[in-house]
């Protein structure tokens, strides 16, 4: 029987139809590719594809090397961890269906889901967790610093049970567990060329994540596609494919959006860019408050910012409104903790104010009064808004008798000059958000002596009382003790004006009207886990 002639089976007809359709589609897309340049992806039947821009593709897909939000955004889709973080900061099960913590919080035991599988179909077992953790610590990169000196050992109790033993009580420990992505030990060791499979894992994922690598990574982008067999299951209208296109400049982002290639735009672009995108009509903008603070870190050990009056003068000479309204969108920030940690912020912390007269009074009270005061303003080279803020501050400080030197450095150099008091500029523009959902992440990295010499702690506080308060909160399982310590910490830091609290970062998330599911997660601060998104249009 010849299909298409006479009343054949319904199945056959529709197949024929779709076959024809496919062939036609191929021809059309080939022709269009040559002439018009429509996307080449082929038939794409009812595929939901999301395209977003990124300033760069991570150098390595290795989850043990995650050092910034961009790395994390990719890894969280390719790999799963024992636990995950929900919007609002609550911890939720992922590979582990449940966990137990012993009384003095020195042991945590995780029970892995029976049905949890890696993308190659093999089951996720306790040995994989042990391997992943040990490898993380061996490489000593990425999130390993969260565990050094805290975790004593990780052992497999049985195939599906794994126990973390801590060397001391460490209250925020559970919040750090979502940072350990679980690697498929079997695959990794099979590809280990004596380098802990670093070479192989740099370009090949071996995880239990919801997405598979489809294309890349290359200097122009990376593509991941949905794993239909993902053990965690899928929502009704999932995202089938996610493409990151490298767009180094804002102008590239805009031209990509103008030619209809973007469904979602990355954060941290210039406000002008978001305005222009919104004018294109097919995007929605969602402004979300984040847990990221934008600070001027003042070097408290270097003249003239070693004088609290000078530090206060700088705080008064900062034009917060102009910065928030014109230069960089954000909300008020009153102290070290952003509003996302509202539960821990004590009442009555004064809001910073812009008052040149008070600034002049503070200068007059300082030991540097009466002569021109040399001061260095550091920021990251090439970031336009940081330059604008630095210029704004310079013009105000010059009115107060400061002699300003601007010091723009590439990020790698900022990291380096943060290593010594003498090389750290007086004023440093830094964004800092929690790397795990706990206030401890904000305090320990920025103000504890153990963190000295890092870009996160360019204040050079090295204050024993501050250290004691942080340690107290860490080693106590009691939320009230913690809250009290955090409260006092904030009051002290605000009073000594270790930082100028510019603003709380607002995410200007611009995405296609059809895309939904974004909610802010206080970890690595990028909207990234695409299992949580849905596509609402056809």
């Amino acid at each position: 029987m010849v299909p298409g002639q006479g009343p054949g089976p319904v199945m056959g007809c529709s197949q024929l139809g779709s076959d024809k359709m496919k062939t036609w589609n191929k021809v059309a897309s080939a022709g269009a590719g040559l002439l018009l340049g429509t996307a080449l992806a082929g038939p794409a039947l009812a595929q939901t594809v999301i395209t977003l821009d990124t300033p760069e593709v991570p150098g390595s897909l290795d989850p043990s090397k995650i050092s910034d939000a961009g790395d994390y955004a990719l890894a969280v889709n390719l790999y799963d961890a024992l636990m995950t973080v929900l919007p609002g900061g609550a911890l939720a099960p992922e590979l582990a269906e449940s966990w137990e913590v012993n009384e003095d919080a020195t042991e945590a035991t995780f029970f892995i889901r029976e049905d949890a599988t890696f993308t190659d179909g093999s089951p996720v077992e306790a040995s994989d967790v042990v391997y992943s953790y040990d490898r993380l610590m061996r490489l000593n990169q990425g999130p390993s610093n969260l565990f050094a000196g805290v975790v004593e050992s990780v052992e497999a109790v049985d195939a599906k049970t794994v126990r973390f033993t801590l060397s001391k009580t460490f209250a925020p420990f559970l919040a750090t567990v979502p940072s350990i992505f679980i690697i498929n030990e079997e695959v990794a060791t099979a590809n280990d060329a004596g380098d802990d499979a670093q070479e192989w894992l740099a370009t090949n994922p071996a995880g239990a994540g919801a997405y598979l690598l489809k294309d890349g990574p290359s200097g122009s982008g990376i593509v991941i596609e949905r794993d239909e067999d993902y053990y965690g299951g899928w929502n009704e209208s999932p995202i089938d494919e996610v493409r990151w296109i490298v767009a180094p400049d804002d102008s590239t982002v805009r031209s990509l959006a103008a030619s209809g290639e973007l469904t979602m735009v990355s954060a941290f672009r210039a406000p002008e860019t978001y305005d222009a995108l919104m004018e294109m009509g097919r995007f929605t903008q969602e402004d979300t408050s984040t847990a990221t603070a934008y600070l001027l870190k003042l070097n408290t050990q270097l003249a003239p910012t070693d004088d609290v009056h000078i530090r206060r003068a700088i705080a008064y000479a900062t034009d917060y409104d102009t910065i928030r309204e014109v230069i960089y969108p954000g909300e008020e920030l009153t102290g070290p903790l952003p509003p996302a940690f509202a539960d821990f912020i004590p009442e009555g912390l004064p809001a910073p104010e812009f008052d040149m007269e008070k600034a002049a009074e503070e200068v007059a009270q300082s030991s540097y009064a009466g002569a021109p005061i040399p001061i260095t303003l550091g920021y990251v080279a090439g970031t336009q808004f940081e330059e604008e803020i630095s210029l704004l501050l310079q013009s105000n400080l010059e009115q107060l008798g400061f002699e300003v030197t601007q010091q723009a450095d590439p990020w790698a150099r900022v990291v380096e000059i943060a290593g010594a008091v003498e090389t750290t500029p007086n004023v440093n523009q830094v964004f800092f958000g929690p790397t795990y959902p706990s206030p401890d992440s904000m305090f320990f990295s920025q103000y504890h002596s153990d963190s000295a010499g890092s870009w996160t702690s360019m204040e050079w506080l090295e204050d024993p009382e501050i250290d004691a308060l942080i340690d107290e909160a860490r080693s106590s399982g009691d939320p009230e003790v913690q809250a009290a310590a955090y409260g006092e910490l904030q009051e002290r830091i605000v009073d000594m004006q270790a930082d100028v609290f510019l603003l709380t970062l607002t995410f200007q998330l611009v995405m296609d009207e059809c895309l939904t599911g974004y909610e802010f997660v206080p970890m690595q601060s990028v909207p990234s886990d695409f299992t949580r998104y849905e596509w609402l249009c056809d």
Binding site: S251, V326, E388, L391, L392, S395, Q406, A408, P410
Partner: protein, 314 residues
């Protein structure tokens, strides 16, 4: 004798610009045209050369007189006026304003200062060094030649822009580093040029005559040979001014320029890209300024080339 110019002794492969019959003419002519007149005639009839010279002179004058002629000299520093940000070109701001409300024309003129300074410093180092090494390699030959010329070969193979970026991450990127690094790579071009000329001249009679007469090496190098390199050097240096400015702009575009608030053309272009295409003037105006200076020096160099008749220099 000692100051015969290259024009009278055309280099091998280089032909006099004039039509062949001209060389047979002078005696048939009632009045001989003076060399100066010929030069001036050629220069002035070459519109591009005149335009080039004009551009260079105007740029240098503008750069020197910047505080007097720019409309908002204070905008060189940290002046911010966010109400006036991104104003389009107008009568008050011929080139518009930048992202913090400063007058772009003012900053472009001051930026030219930096560009010109860069060119003068880089070539101020590279030309004497390259000339000395080229003279030595060409005159002494032997191992001196081998060492120097092999060094130039290696230096040519170094991708300068890439290396400079690497160097800049170690030393805080600033103008001085950029200048020194550029100079460290640029001398090879001049060394090669002077080397080629010296090798040609070394075997010529006036040099041999001087050698026979027992003139000192110093005398031969600097009194006999060097004067014959001057016209070629002038052409090369003028062309190079343009290319040093271009390279400097590319470097500062990549973030290795002067520290703010000092205006630097390449940095201004890079900063303006965030606001393209709506506020195009932020990038395009300083970019065009780079283009115009580089064009000026190139046109001038071209004109000088015709004037001195040293065709082999590109």
């Amino acid at each position: 004798m000692a100051t015969r110019s290259l024009r009278e002794e055309p280099a091998a492969g280089a032909a006099p610009d004039a039509e062949p019959p001209v060389t047979t003419l002078p005696e048939a002519e009632p009045e001989r045209l003076s060399a100066a007149y010929q030069s001036w005639y050629r220069f002035s009839r070459n519109p591009t050369a005149v335009i080039g010279a004009a551009i260079v002179v105007i740029c240098i004058l503008a750069a020197v007189l910047a505080p007097l002629i720019t409309p908002y000299p204070s905008h060189v520093g940290a002046v911010v006026d966010f109400r006036a940000r991104h104003l389009p070109p107008s009568w008050e701001h011929w080139m518009g304003t930048d992202n913090v409300g400063r007058d772009i024309l003012t900053r472009v003129v001051y930026g030219m200062r930096i560009s010109l300074l860069l060119a003068f410093v880089v070539l101020g180092v590279a030309v004497p060094v390259g000339t000395l090494l080229g003279l030595a390699a060409g005159y002494f030959g032997g191992w001196v030649e081998v060492v120097i010329m092999r060094l130039t070969d290696i230096a040519l193979a170094i991708p300068g822009l890439v290396l400079l970026m690497a160097v800049a991450t170690v030393f805080s990127p600033n103008l001085l580093t950029t200048m020194l690094a550029l100079a460290a790579l640029w001398w090879t071009w001049h060394a090669r040029l002077i080397y080629a000329i010296t090798r040609q001249l070394r075997s010529q009679e006036f040099v041999e005559a001087a050698e026979t007469l027992g003139a000192s090496t110093f005398h031969i190098l600097f009194r006999e040979i060097l004067p014959n390199c001057v016209s070629a050097l002038a052409v090369k240096t003028s062309l190079d001014c343009g290319f040093v400015i271009l390279t400097g702009a590319a470097l500062s575009f990549l973030g290795l320029g002067a520290q703010p608030p000092m205006p630097d053309l390449g940095t201004m272009v890079a900063g303006g890209t965030n606001y393209l295409p709506d506020y195009w003037w932020g990038s395009v105006m300083p970019g065009c300024a780079v283009l115009v200076i580089a064009l000026g020096f190139n046109l001038l160099g071209d004109g000088l080339r015709d004037l001195f008749d040293v065709q082999e220099i590109r």
